[in-house]
Amino acid sequence: MNNLIERYVYDVTRRLPEKEREDVKRELNANILDMLPEEPTDEDIGNALNGMGSPAKLADSYRQTPRCLISPTLYDEYISALKWVLPLVGAIFLIIGVVVGFAQAVREGVAGVDWIELLVSGTISGAIDGLIQAFFWTTVGFAIADRLGHKDEEQWTVDKLPKELPQSKGAIPLSEGIVELVLAAAFTAIGVALLMGYIPIVFSRSAYGSRVMTLFNGDALGASIPVVIIAGVISAAAAILKMIKRRWCVPVCCLSVADDLAGLGAVLYIITKPNVWDTSFIRFMYEGVEGVASAAIANDLASGGSGVLVTATGIIAAVISLICCTVAIIKTVRASRS
């Protein structure tokens, strides 16, 4: 316990800026010694230092500037920035992860359960990485802005108030619009690629190893691509309007319904065309997937248009679209009543 004072003074001064350390050290040392009798016992020293309190607090009171990364004035803006940046980045990286994972799985000829695993792990790690980056850079940006910024703030006047009161009912969070926009773009792109036969689909793992084949017949579907693109554009427009208006009003409702119907139309149009399915896929179905009545399905697919599978898919798609339309209408009606 012989260098207690020295260690105490060190613990205080190490938290202070370089240029102040030496002077504070001398002064604090002198002050502490002044408080003690000529030949202080360890107990005397201990009591005196305990009375001085924690070095962290003492160092804090020596400092002039307050210590925070992002000051209270900017903090609210920082949080709301995070609220839209993180979902946006999350959505983008999720989609990139899916597409990349897919391509990777195909390239490496991974089959069956493995490619799901690859897809999921690639997506999650990509998304986490992206989110961490987004959080970091947003925080750094605000910390810098805080230190550079607002020393001479303009005088606040009434003009700076928000233009409208928020509508409590029927509000659409900004993140929803952004996510829908990104998904619209992504699924349109994936849809087009699928239709053009660019994305092979790996189906099953069997004794013969993995089977890679194309789902759709590229040639017959060239004409369907514009349909998908139009549906995608309507979807994007609906998302953008949601971001602008931020609540369920009549225009938003109309576009949303149009989006659902267009999507439904595209799906029905494609699956009811003859020659939709690629021959390799049909052949595959003939050869049999374990436990499935394959011949029947294969015939179904080959005939196109009126088969059971087609009808079932069509009905499911119609029901989903109908539900989405109804939800949109209900939300709009509720919003207008508030």
Binding site: E27, A30, D34, M35, G51, M52
Partner: protein
């Protein structure tokens, strides 16, 4: 928070404002940290070492005090003294303090 603790925290608030005045007012002649601490405490100011020492440094950084190291004694000591700028501020602050006391007395008397 117990009642006494609550009272204490408000009292501390009250004292915090007057501390600078007390320190400036006691440094017409040069003094070192511990001596000033004892003087103030003897006069009834309840103040701690870990409040006073940083305060004196801060006042010096703001130009209200000036300091010099005395290395003649067995132990070197830092002496503080009020500066010219500090003196001007001190008088204005003391003025304000007196006026404040009168105003508060008037307000509180009124509400009785």
């Amino acid at each position: 928070m117990a009642d006494n603790e609550r009272l204490q925290s408000y009292v501390t608030e009250l004292r915090r404002g007057s501390l600078v005045l007390a320190v400036l007012g006691s440094l017409k002649a040069p003094r070192y940290g511990y001596a000033l601490l004892q003087t103030l405490q003897a006069r009834g100011m309840e103040i701690e070492a870990n409040t006073l020492y940083p305060l004196m440094r801060r006042l010096e950084e703001q130009g209200l005090l000036k300091s010099s190291w005395d290395t003649t004694e067995s132990r070197p000591r830092k002496y503080y003294e009020i500066s010219e700028e500090g003196d001007g501020l001190y008088r204005a602050l003391l003025d304000e303090w007196t006026r404040l006391g009168e105003r508060i007395a008037a307000i509180c008397r009124e509400d009785d």
